[in-house]
């Protein structure tokens, strides 16, 4: 019997399969199904501060429009109780999920303002999250904003939160850093416990008939696993944090690769959305089977086993890798 357990952010997990943020991890009912199918932890969808602000302002605008100006219709909507605007619903869901599942629940936060980040992080902690994942992403559109300024801002935000929350902290990054290792090093210095690679974003698309920009969501595929795979392999052992691989994990093989690169866990979203939560059971069976067939005894044994530090030719992960690919054509 192989030992599938792993330890992520200092938390013992029964296996390395974690459900990352998706509609399935938003509610207790679907989270329970995932846990029943075998996932070892739940990462809730991000609490988007910007979205909260926008929703709040929009609701106010929509409830106010046209009011108090015409004698017969001073308002257009009934006065109802409290609106679930703000983090309350999110926090309630978090508490509910925490109560209804036996595995750790990781809260997730996408902040917008310095004050908002810290405040919401504390609320997530208070609601019972076992750990917190910070979704660090700011779309730099101002040509005057330098990379250094932006990175400093990120690090300050992380420091502020680290100072205010006690639960383990992970940071989820996009791949768009000029020097990811350097930035990761600074993150580690800030006291983060883990780094999650990589965030995927909804990229806008064009509707050519209407000549409009439209939001477009494409679920990941296995090919995408290679980008985080390389970076985790490069960073493993150099940056003293736990790594989690997300983006493109669709098979047990993808999971195995993630672990061997150095990730403590592999996170899955798209596959669950496509195949349903039961898919977790199959993945874990496949994982176990492969390990048995290849005579691995534990997951811990294979973590980092194919990282840059561990492979025979570390240059494979660097420029040579690129050259080799081109040469294959």
């Amino acid at each position: 019997m192989v030992d599938l357990s792993t330890n992520y952010l200092g938390i013992e997990l029964r296996n390395p399969l974690v459900a990352s943020a998706s509609p399935l991890t938003q509610k207790a009912e679907t989270a329970q199904q995932l846990v029943k199918a075998g996932v070892s932890a739940i990462v809730m969808p991000s609490l988007f501060e910007e979205q909260i602000l926008r929703e709040s302002l929009k609701l106010d605008q929509d409830l106010t429009r046209g009011t108090e100006q015409f004698a017969e219709a001073l308002t257009y909507f009934p006065e109802v109780g409290q609106y679930s605007i703000g983090p309350d619903t999110y926090l309630q869901n978090l508490s509910k999920i925490k109560k209804s599942v036996s595995v750790p629940v990781i809260g997730s936060l996408n902040g917008y303002t310095d004050g908002g980040w810290v405040e919401y992080a504390q609320k997530i902690q208070a609601a019972g999250a076992d750990a917190l994942e910070l979704n660090l992403y700011y779309l730099a559109t101002d040509p005057e904003l330098t990379a250094n300024e932006l990175e400093d801002k990120y690090l300050q935000l992380v420091r502020n939160i680290r100072n205010k929350v006690q639960i383990p902290l992970a940071v989820k990054l996009s791949p768009f850093f000029t020097s990811l290792p350097n930035f990761s090093k600074h993150l580690a210095e800030c006291g983060v416990n883990g780094i999650v690679l990589f965030n995927r974003f909804y990229q806008p698309d064009f509707d050519l008939e209407e000549l409009e920009v439209v939001p477009h969501l494409i679920l990941s595929n296995s090919n995408e696993v290679r980008l985080p795979l390389r970076w985790i392999a490069l960073l493993y052992g150099k940056i003293p944090v736990d790594f989690a691989l997300t983006s493109g994990v669709h098979t047990a093989e993808d999971m195995l690769k993630a672990l061997m690169a150095g990730a403590k866990i592999a996170m899955i979203t798209s596959a669950f959305l496509q195949e349903g939560s039961e898919f977790a059971t199959m993945l874990l069976e496949d994982l176990q089977k492969w390990m048995e067939e290849h005579e691995y005894t534990s997951v811990k044994q294979m973590i980092g086993s194919m990282s840059q530090k561990a492979v025979a030719d570390p240059a494979e992960f660097e420029r040579a890798n690129y050259m080799k690919v081109l040469a294959s054509y």
């Binding site: 602000l53 106010d60 429009r65 108090e68 004698a71 017969e72 909507f77 009934p78 409009e212």
Partner: protein, 1200 residues
């Protein structure tokens, strides 16, 4: 125990009591009582219990008649029952009121008394509705103030249980129902101790029950009805005494004393005014003032008007009285006098002249002289000056009887003169007036201010708010009073210590500083800075500031709002300035209280809203400046006239004054005697309310007409014209070669009416033509209005001078072509981006010169018929839509009446016509009788024939010739359209609508379906869709929308179309043309996006598309003529649902807010909505796929 003091309006004060003392509440919205029902519904949704610990059952009915029926039934079944209504609504309850009273059933109807429509509808307050109920047998109990509305509501509920006589508790609509005042609140214990529970048991024991059966409500014959009708007398005889006793008990509980008649003034008064309602507060205060000046005057305030107790009345009247003026807030044309006057005369006669009651105090005194007068109809101001005029009149040897006060009646000379400068207000009372734009939040902030002052300081406080009758860009005027003494001044402020103008542009339209007293503060929201503002003030304003030595402050509130993400909401900014300048509270405390109010008002909408308001408060004072006022007037310009000089005389002298808010000064002689007004007057009211207006970009234009067809205010027009008109075109005029196959060699221009546009930008959203190098730029784009106002105005004027297209030269079947036709519905007062008006405008383009419109009361009757100016217009030939509004409930029947009359006249004309064959010639007679009027040219030819006929008949002198001449126009086809909203069609008017459809007559009904009662503020109708939130459906509507089209289809001979212009403008136009052409009844149900849906209406068309794509609004046409050809009459014009309902619904607050308040229920309801939409679509598909046999084909029985 200390009393709880609250600052609320009369409706809330009343509803608070009624709700707590009831088990069943049946409601229906009507202004100004709607909010009482809304409060009840909200409290029930929030599970607030009544004083017995159970949550009252609140049910919305289909009409007030329905509400009264439900009330009647609930009483009969033993529940403590109440309802709220006003005006026409109360009139609809009258039949049930007779029954309820006849059966001695305890109940209370709370009525915010409102004008009953006569020559015109009015939403405002008088007592004509209550007076129409005098004979029902209900007790009529009047409250004169907000506190009284609260207190007497409780007294009414307690009294009805004892007396078994049902009560109508009333107070003046708007003046009391909407006035915010500081009152002492009755606790639940107070209410508990006022009600005798044994009376409730007694009421229940009289209820219908199969457990102890009896029957009630028999039919009777001449032998017994009369006697039995007299059995109730003892109950009415003791009722006044019961009310008096309840009032006494109430005084013990609350410390506030009331009597059936309350007297104020000199105990030895010689002149007394008798009246009831809010005006009696004004009269009472004026009497006190005059008393201090040594005048022997007094006011007798009537509380219990029915049953009228002569005994109590005479006891309350000072025996010294020599003359009495009875003031009625109603008019009974043709009566010997108004109702209260007649009662007083009767009481004096019975009590004194006949001596039927031993009133010893009147012994040996001459009988007082009694005169009657009318005041305050439709919320006409009733001021101390008018009260004084009445007292002065009573002093005359031969006072005027049946007088009026408050108007100038220069026709029948009924009016009393008064001195408008007469002022009795306590100088310690601070009086503040705020001029705001509807959308800037001024009223909301002032409501908060008055609550702060009322509840956080020792001051007494009063707020009253005056609104515009236009639904977009309207002016609001807030009147706030506060001071150390109770404020009994139910009239608007005319002399203010503080005047605030929240919109700079108002200075050029209105006399804002007129009401500022010398030394008052004038606060102006100015886009101009400290050094430049003075030069931008009109002469009149400068003069007032200089001569009255006003303290002048400015703030650029829009700049502060912009910096703090407040958009155009400058409310909290101006509010902060008001508190800072007025000094009603120390600055720090004021800011703290404003923030507390912000938290309370906006807190539930999320922290971001609170934060931005806080930021606005914090930044306001930094931008507030006092202006050093120059000592002379330097301005080079004056206020602009309200209408242009070239406007017709009636528009200048009457409508123009109304526009300038000087309507009160117009004398009786200036008005039409029967409510008839000229058409097309909105063209003269240039409101300039748009910050941005559309500008045409010809290089991108494809001449499709989509921008024009969707424009709710008809400010975008298209013309095709001869190139010769380019010669004299003004500078900047642009044109294209016209691309219309019927009109070769012509030019094409789109023009925009810059001063009439509301800036909704729906046209830009509709425009399909995008710049290939910059897709954000279209063939029509928004641009700031002020810099281009003048140049665009010149172009617009020139555009109007170019002849309209020849209607017979083009086919009107396409949208592209129809938009060349002149709209005869323009510049209405509808909301910016309104979803209803484009349909009406299209009707006028297609059929306007032969259109008769019967309009149900509602949004469309308000933006279509509310003075000062109205949008239904006239073409150059003098033809245009003829429009009228009867009521809410009877509109289908009203429109059918048009048809009956037209058909009868047509029939009679056709009967007469052959008799004139000799002088007309057989050919002309034959041509007229057999004319094909199915096309524009056919109609034109018929008009020419009829003109020829009339010309000939004018020379004839026979009776028959004159008869035919007077009805000859009926020989030209007319298009009768019955217009209304879903409240009318689905609910209150449904019975009539059904009957009219069943009649088979050639009428067209169009339902402007907003799926909610829009005009009264968003109450649910039977059209409200499943899962949507509305007032009276605060938890989201749990049942599907009524399928009106499907119900009508059951007739088989009704043309039906379901349309949505945003989804398919061509289908819309085709449906309207087919409906008009169909020779029987037609029903068109038009999806109308609405401000009550809760989103920016510029996206209205997109939402219509999504509604159709989601399946909640399938498009179809059902044409019975097809069935006659053996074809399936049902044509589905939309495709299979292709998106989930959420994708449509959650862009709108009406759906989304349920997700934000009860996510679980929202999920459940939206799922049901999807199932319902799918099921209905399947049903339509099956119906549309059915095979029909040709009824005219030979016998196809396969057995033969």
């Amino acid at each position: 125990m200390s009393k709880t003091v609250i600052t609320i309006d009369g409706n809330e004060a009343t509803a608070y009591v009624a709700y707590r003392l009831s088990e069943v509440i049946a409601i229906y919205p009507i202004t100004p009582s709607s909010t009482m029902g809304e409060f009840a519904d909200e409290w029930a949704t929030l599970k607030k219990p009544n004083i017995w610990g159970t949550v009252p059952s609140v049910t919305e009915m289909q009409s007030e008649g329905g509400a009264a029926g439900a009330v009647h039934g609930a009483i009969q079944a033993g529940a403590l029952t109440t309802t709220f209504t006003a005006s026409q609504g109360l009139l609809l309850m009258i039949p049930n009121m007779f029954k309820i009273a006849g059966e001695l059933s305890p109940t209370v109807f709370h009525v915010s008394a409102r004008t009953v429509a006569a020559h015109a509808l009015s939403i405002f307050g008088d007592q004509s509705d209550v007076m129409a109920c005098r004979s029902t047998g209900f007790a009529l109990l009047a409250s004169n103030s907000v506190q009284e509305a609260h207190d007497l509501a409780a007294i009414a509920h307690a009294s009805t249980l004892r007396a078994r006589v049902p009560f109508l508790h009333f107070f003046d609509g708007f003046r009391t129902s909407s006035e915010v005042n500081k009152i002492e609140q009755l606790s639940e214990e107070d209410l508990r101790s006022l009600i005798d529970d044994s009376l409730i048991q007694a009421h229940r024991s009289r209820a219908l029950s199969p457990d102890h059966p009896f029957i009630r409500g028999t039919a009777q014959n001449p032998d017994t009805f009369f006697q039995e009708r007299e059995t109730v007398n003892p109950f009415y005889n003791v009722c006044p005494e019961i009310v008096a006793e309840v009032m006494e008990k109430f005084a013990q509980i609350s410390g506030r004393t009331y009597h059936l008649f309350d007297y104020v003034g000199d105990p030895e008064a010689e002149r007394v005014i008798v009246m009831m309602g809010s005006g009696s507060e004004t009269a009472g205060e004026t009497a006190r003032y005059l008393l201090e000046a040594g005048q022997k005057v007094g006011v007798l305030k009537v509380h219990l008007y029915r049953p009228f107790s002569v005994l109590h009345f005479l006891e309350a009247l000072p025996p010294t009285v020599k003359s009495i003026a009875v003031l009625d807030r109603t008019k009974e044309p043709g009566a010997a006098g108004e109702p209260l006057y007649q009662d007083v005369v009767t009481a004096i006669n019975e009590g004194l002249a006949e001596g039927s009651v031993p009133y010893t105090q009147f012994a040996n005194r001459p009988y007082p002289r009694v005169i009657g007068g009318r005041y305050g109809l439709s919320s006409k101001e009733f001021t101390p000056a008018m009260v004084k005029a009445v007292f002065d009149e009573l002093q005359k040897a031969d006072p005027k009887n049946h007088f009026t006060v408050g108007i100038e009646d220069d026709v029948t000379k009924t009016s009393l003169d008064f001195d408008p400068t007469f002022d009795i207000e306590d100088p310690q009372t601070v009086r503040c007036v705020f001029w705001g734009l509807g959308s800037d939040g001024t009223v909301g902030a002032n409501k908060n201010s008055i609550k702060i002052i009322g509840e956080e300081t020792d001051n007494c406080a009063q707020g009253y708010f005056v609104y515009d009758s236009k639904k977009s860009g309207g002016v609001t005027i807030s009147h706030l009073r506060f001071g150390p003494k109770p404020i009994r001044a139910p009239y608007q402020i005319s002399q203010a210590n503080f005047v605030a103008c929240h919109q700079f542009s108002f200075l050029e339209r209105f006399d804002i500083t007129k009401m500022a007293i010398p030394g008052a503060v004038f606060l102006l929201n100015s886009i101009y800075g400290v050094d430049e503002v003075w030069d931008h003030l009109p002469k009149e304003t400068q003069k007032d500031i200089v001569e009255k030595k006003l303290k002048f402050y400015i703030i650029d509130a829009y700049e502060v709002a912009k910096k703090t993400d407040m958009g155009t909401r400058i409310n909290t900014i101006m509010q902060t300035c008001f508190f800072a300048i007025s000094g009603v509270l120390p600055k720090e405390e004021a800011i703290q209280q404003i923030k507390k109010a912000i938290q309370k008002t906006y807190g539930k909408r999320g922290e971001a809203v609170v934060k931005k308001n806080f930021a606005a408060v914090d930044q306001a004072l930094e931008n507030l400046y006092e202006i050093k006022v120059p000592d002379k007037i330097t301005s080079q310009f004056t206020r602009r006239p309200s209408v242009p000089e070239e406007a017709p005389e009636f528009v200048r002298n009457v409508l123009g004054k109304m526009i300038a808010l000087e309507g009160d000064s117009i004398p009786v002689s200036a008005f039409p005697v029967d409510g008839t007004y000229p058409s097309g007057t909105t063209q003269w009211e240039k409101r300039n309310i748009a910050l941005e207006i559309p500008v045409w970009e010809p290089s991108l234009c494809i001449q499709c007409g989509k921008c024009a067809i969707v424009c709710p205010h008809a400010v975008i027009r298209e013309k095709v014209y001869d190139p010769s008109y380019l010669k004299n075109a003004p500078e900047g005029w642009v044109s294209l070669d016209a691309k219309f196959k019927e009109l070769p060699g012509m030019k094409f221009t789109i023009a925009v009416a810059p001063e009439d546009c509301t800036g909704c930008s729906i046209c830009v959203e509709a425009c399909p033509a995008k710049d290939k190098t910059q897709v954000g730029r279209k063939a029509i784009n928004m641009a700031p209005q002020p810099p281009i106002r003048e140049s665009e105005r010149v172009k617009w004027d020139y555009f109007l001078s170019i002849p309209e297209v020849d209607r017979t030269a083009i086919s009107t079947r396409t949208v592209k072509n129809s938009q060349l036709l002149q709209p005869l519905f323009e510049f209405s007062g509808a909301c910016a981006g309104c979803g209803e008006t484009p349909y009406l405008k299209l009707l006028t383009q297609l059929f306007g010169d032969r259109l008769m419109v019967a309009n149900a009361t509602g949004c469309s009757s308000i933006y279509g018929g509310n003075l000062p100016t109205t949008p239904w217009a006239v073409n150059k030939e003098g033809r245009g839509p003829s429009w009228s509004n009867s009521l809410f409930e009877d509109n289908a029947e009203f429109g059918l009446g048009f048809r009956l009359s037209l058909d009868k006249q047509n029939e009679y004309a056709r009967e007469l016509l052959p008799k004139f064959a000799g002088i007309l010639g057989e050919n002309l007679v034959d041509a007229i009788l057999n004319a094909d009027q199915s096309t524009e040219s056919g109609i034109r030819q018929q008009r020419e024939r009829v003109a020829q006929l009339k010309q000939t008949l004018e020379k004839e002198n026979t009776l028959e010739a004159k008869q035919l001449l007077s009805i000859a126009d009926s020989l030209v086809q007319k298009s009768v359209w019955i217009v209304g909203g879903d409240g009318w069609a689905y609910d209150i008017g449904y019975g009539g609508l059904d009957h009219v459809l069943a009649s088979g007559r050639n009428v067209n009904l169009i339902v402007l379906d907003t799926e909610v009662y829009s005009n009264t503020g968003g109450q649910a109708s039977k059209s409200t869709p499943l899962a949507a939130v509305a007032k009276f459906a605060a938890a989201g509507k749990g049942l599907p929308k009524k399928d009106l089209g499907m119900i009508a289809m059951a007739y088989g001979y009704v043309y039906i179309a379901r349309i949505a212009m945003g989804a398919s403008d061509q289908q819309t136009q085709t449906a309207l043309l087919e409906a008009d052409a169909y020779p029987g009844p037609s029903l068109v149900i038009a999806y109308s996006h609405c401000i009550a849906h809760g989103y920016d209406l510029k996206y209205g068309l997109e939402q219509q598309k999504l509604a159709v794509a989601s399946g909640v609004w399938p498009l179809y046409r059902y044409n019975p003529l097809l069935a006659e050809e053996g074809k399936n009459p049902l044509i589905l014009d939309s495709k299979d649902p292709s998106i989930p309902i959420e994708q449509f619904a959650y862009n709108e607050t009406r759906y989304k807010m349920l997700v934000q308040t009860d996510e679980q229920r929202a999920e459940m309801l939206i799922k049901l909505a999807q199932q319902d939409a799918n099921r209905r679509w399947e049903l339509y598909q099956q119906m549309a796929a059915m095979t029909y046999s040709n009824p005219n084909a030979g016998n196809s029985n396969p057995g033969d």
